[in-house]
Amino acid sequence: MIDANVFIGESLYENSLSPENLLEMMRVNGVERAVVRPLKPPDFDFDRANRWIAETQSKYPNLVGFGRVNALLRQAPEQALRAVIDYGLRGIHLHPWEENYPITSEKVDRVVEALEGRVPVYVSAGYPVVSHPLQIQDLASRHPDTTFIATHGGQQDISGMSFDDALIVARENPNVSFDVSGVYRRDFIELLVEQAGEQRIVFGSCTPYMDMAFEITRVRATHLEDEVKDRMFRVNILRILGLSGG
């Protein structure tokens, strides 16, 4: 099992998670590998945090590193490229909610353009104002050669009123994949698989914001075929990241 969405390091929000504690959590929950990116560092220095992620990735082979940048900063495109080329990280994470910018901003375009489709761009999605599903679509449509992964099935709204919008993205944007962290509705997970296709949904827990054990339970409880669950838990993220093994 591979968890595609985990944050580690020191956190401004007092939910710090060390690699060692994450590895123990993974062992307890039967997770073999995790894709990790920095929590928001107290000093706001993502370049330093990205270097630390690279060191962590080297030290612990079952942790796959992503960089994170604040798209508002002028140096963000350069930092993103450095994270991938110099630090050897496998993707870039954008968190428009914690960094406070709309994902449709031209500043995000500059980061995505700098990467030239080398690696996937993981986006914290479904946040009010900044990353509604159709805002994700707007971004993804402008960059059809970049693979995006949207967290939370693209939406976060317990009324269910954003589901249709996320499903539009699932149907119309083949360059957008989704993780299902925090999606409490079984029917929505199943609809995402149906409409995006079983190759574009990955398991990601959004640890430590959400609960790894419970996120696994919810995916297992869906009425999807075991083969589809295996794709979600392992196969799809390996393919997206160009990794081998399990």
Partner: protein, 248 residues
């Protein structure tokens, strides 16, 4: 005994949502849930047959289903009369469901407050959707709860974004009871029990959209003391709706 305090059954052409009671009961059986409080997808008065469906479903499965009619407050006296008549005429109807996202009446608006107070007069609780956006924010519901101190209001734990607001509101407003469905955070369920006590949290699934198996696991994984888990899983809601079956 396990009672789900919030689930749905309806066959609604406008929404395109078809969840007959047989579907819900199959899911309850899969999870080991004995009874469920159900409501419709549509509001009454309205163009859909949600209330009639609800009456039929609880009559077909009286040992498994309890109804909360879903009423739109904006029709004023007519809404109150429909609600009162439904409760008085049908012993299997034991509460009121409000969904501010669909009826667009703020919980503290006078029309809504009158309806909530009527529930208190009739001795039944209100269940309201809560979380993520206007007009179903915890602080909006807490304002209604303050205006209706004689009515118990059960609501979600604030959805994705308003869990902490919800907990603070419930701490200062004793007629608020929280349900465990719809929150992706098991830690918030634990915190709610710690802050509010074991008597003010009720197990719910929001089934068949929410998954009963994993919603139940969300409670089990907290490893609560047996007496606390029992209160959450059925005793609290049984007491709130005066359910004799649950007292056995």
């Amino acid at each position: 005994m396990i009672i789900d305090a919030h689930a749905h059954a309806d066959e609604n052409d406008i929404w395109g949502w078809y969840d007959p009671p047989e579907k819900l009961i199959a899911l309850m059986d899969e999870a080991g849930i004995d009874m469920a409080v159900i409501t419709s997808y549509s509001d009454e008065p309205g163009p859909s047959a949600g209330l009639e469906n609800l009456k039929r479903y609880v009559a077909e499965f009286p040992e498994r289903l309890i109804g909360f009619p879903r009423i739109d407050p904006k029709f004023g006296q007519k809404s109150i009369e429909i609600f009162e008549q439904t409760i008085k005429a049908n012993p299997l109807m034991k509460g009121l469901k409000l969904h501010p996202i669909s009826n667009l009446v703020k919980p503290f608006a006078p029309l809504c407050v009158e309806l909530i107070r009527k529930a208190g007069e009739l001795g039944v609780p209100v269940f309201t959707h809560c979380g993520d956006k206007i007009p179903a924010l915890p602080l909006q519901i807490a304002r209604a709860a303050a205006l209706c101190p004689d009515t118990t209001i059960i609501c979600h734990m604030g959805g994705y974004f308003h869990a902490d607001d919800m907990l603070r509101c419930a701490q200062r407003q004793p007629n608020l009871v929280l349900d465990t469905s719809s929150t992706p955070y098991p830690r918030i369920v634990r915190k709610a029990i710690e802050l509010l006590g074991a008597n003010r949290v009720v197990f719910a699934t929001d089934s068949p959209a929410g998954d009963p198996v994993s919603e139940l696991e969300k409670i089990r994984m907290l490893n609560l003391p047996p007496d606390v888990e029992e209160r959450v899983l059925w005793k609290n809601i049984a007491e709130l709706i005066h359910l004799e079956v649950g007292r056995n």
